[in-house]
Symmetry: C2
Amino acid sequence: MGLFTKDIKTMNDLFVHQLQDIYYAEQQLTKALPKMADKATDPQLKQGFLTHLEETRQHVKRLEEVFKMHGTEVKAVDCPAIDGIIEEADETAGEVADKAVLDAALINAAQAAEHYEIVRYGSLIAWAKQLGRTDCAAVLAKTLEEEKATDKKLTSLAESRINLRAAS
Amino acid sequence: MGLFTKDIKTMNDLFVHQLQDIYYAEQQLTKALPKMADKATDPQLKQGFLTHLEETRQHVKRLEEVFKMHGTEVKAVDCPAIDGIIEEADETAGEVADKAVLDAALINAAQAAEHYEIVRYGSLIAWAKQLGRTDCAAVLAKTLEEEKATDKKLTSLAESRINLRAAS
């Protein structure tokens, strides 16, 4: 869809636009997560990023499934929000000298990405239901649950030891 | 703090950096919210944005209070994440032709900003506690509660009528 062309005329158009946006975001995250895993020093955090990378690859496939179920071309549109979230993660990580502090910063960065996705999948599911596409909503809901579970795991890891080590 | 200079050496440095980042984000939101209120057609949504604008101005003041409590210079650093979130909101809103669909898109955009802030304040509060600054944590927690309440109000408004109108 082109800028300033007012291509979104119906909720269905908005739904498809948002699908294309999150499709781009998930693809960018499959590139960002291996770098975050490389930088992490805590073994559980490193493994957490790698596990979520596998889930993210699955999320990309699920989105392709939803595009097909909905009879729409599989396509990505630029998503300045996820680009900004990843850019900020890179910049902040690049400024951290201490490894334990870097782990705390990486968790914070990853949670920004998770919450971005939680909002977008939440809206997509609500809109799919409104459009009578409970089949699409059900597929998207699987991903939303995994994003929420990852966010909780990150909070628990930060609270159980990463923050303590970073402050010591 | 300069890029590539590894200025963040301790959790305290990370805490201050994140304070500067969210200080910039809140300031940008005080500029974005009036525009979102202008674009909204649903009266309750429009009023919701204006109410949250007042809260956001208060959040800026609370951050200045935390900087002072912590004995740190009041300063903002660029926050590419909030810039990206606002840019995406503008772009998507600019593409929507239908007013009811635009309201649904505006809610989705506002929730992306709210969740960004929820993550950042969540980390700031956890780090403040770890640093023994329960006084700073208490001030930041007031803002976090308001961000969460705004997010819930937006979901409730979307589910109660905005999405229904947008799909009809």
